[in-house]
Symmetry: C2
Subunit: 225 residues, 2 copies
DNA sequence: TTTATTTAATAGTATTACTATTATTTTTGG
DNA sequence: CCAAAAATAATAGTAATACTATTAAATAAA
């Protein structure tokens, strides 16, 4: 099993890059170091010039892979959600009890991220920080609708669909499975942020993770058939 | 009552501006038109130069009121939360039944915003759009902690506190009143955004507003004493 | 009415977010 | 293994951004 998983690739829509970064060493360096750099200095201060310097390559080389830094952010965000869905699939595989499965899913979604040895060039912890701190900037723009049309948020939407389906399996009569799914997914990012920077307006801590809070929430809202 | 309320001023921490924009005609023009402009072109494209042109004044004049556009965003965000708290206070005043009061509070928080004639120079609908689309950019920065120390998010935090207190009044045993309060407040902004741009991953519509969804959620989670 | 304050106009700077061109290196296909 | 193609690196250039600084003109306050 572990061996089998070593050749995995999260496939991200090709409209998000000019040249597939997974197709070359330089491309993987761009992704790997770009994630570290954004985590370190923040998306606003991040530039392709700085990234070029960091990987001892050139600004223009980075531009050959991504149109601009916004596309880069959308790309790594998609990668993250693809990776999450993949984890969710593995973690819930074989669980036949629908309630138990949903609880497991929430745990995977809302628990703090740990390093994944299966993807060597990507630091998942740094990426998770980016998802918490920067990812909303990928859709909070005037071009959302256009980008959405081009499928730039597909992996996120697919994940929401999957979770909402799990919700409906537990309680087919519940009227807001989509909203609840997005509340859990995006809300847990937000609670992570709050526990780090605004600890006095959240109950989430290192012990009581957002996962605990949301599992409790969902168990109260849904009435198992 | 209406007459009394006409001289209201939402007071925003003075560390957020260089010169109080409420203290002059130009200042109010900056606020009023700045809100319209950000709503129109988005925060990234918004500059003080463009705002200067719009109000037929000068870029440098705007800089005498605000250090930079980020401060401007934090200022109007604070104004919004101050205004919301004010509305909440009025709407829940005199309701003695704690459950009813919390439901009313959620309604005020999560319902789409309407124009408020009491503040002539501010277009609350445009401002609400900004809160939905841009406000998270005010805290998703590398300087959050520093800014937070200076009290730049106080009005938001005060509102969360107030709502969490209402939650605890309904169910003193509930363990996550803060997280639930932030989930309702920020989650409803998010659901508004989704219903506008990602309608197929939310159940919220013009009829089923986030307010309906969150009122249901809270009623399920809390067990009235 | 003079002084202080506010506002407007102009100019200037470093950085950003790119594009374009050319040179050099690497890859690959016959 | 060599030539052609593709990828990468280096350099230069541009318009816009996010400011700062200075000075002039208008307005308000003492």
């Amino acid at each position: 099993m572990e061996e089998l998983l070593k050749n995995l690739k999260i496939s991200v829509s090709d409209s998000l890059y000019l040249k597939d970064p997974e197709s070359s060493e330089l491309g993987r360096k761009i992704i790997g170091n770009g994630i570290i750099l954004i985590d370190k200095i923040g998306f606003e201060k991040f530039t392709f010039k700085k990234l070029g310097e960091k990987i001892k390559s050139n600004e223009s080389s980075v531009y050959r892979y991504f149109e601009n830094k916004h596309s880069f952010l959308v790309y790594i965000t998609n990668w993250f959600w693809g990776w999450k869905e993949f984890q969710l699939t593995i973690a819930t595989y074989g669980i036949t009890n629908v309630e138990e499965r949903l609880q497991k899913a929430i745990e995977v979604l809302a628990h703090p991220v740990e390093e994944d040895i299966r993807f060597k060039h990507i630091n998942e912890v740094a990426l998770n920080n980016i998802i918490i701190n920067e990812s909303s900037k990928s859709y909070l723009t005037k071009k959302v609708d256009e980008e959405n049309k081009h499928g730039h948020f597909m992996l996120y939407k697919r994940l929401v669909n999957r979770v909402s389906k799990m919700i409906s399996e537990v309680d087919p009569a519940y009227e807001y499975p989509f909203s609840l799914a997005t509340t859990v997914i995006d809300g847990s990012l937000h609670q992570h942020f709050l526990s780090k920077h605004f600890s006095n307006i959240t109950d989430c801590t290192n012990e009581i993770t957002p996962s605990v809070y949301f599992k409790h929430m969902v168990s109260k809202i849904l009435i198992p058939k």
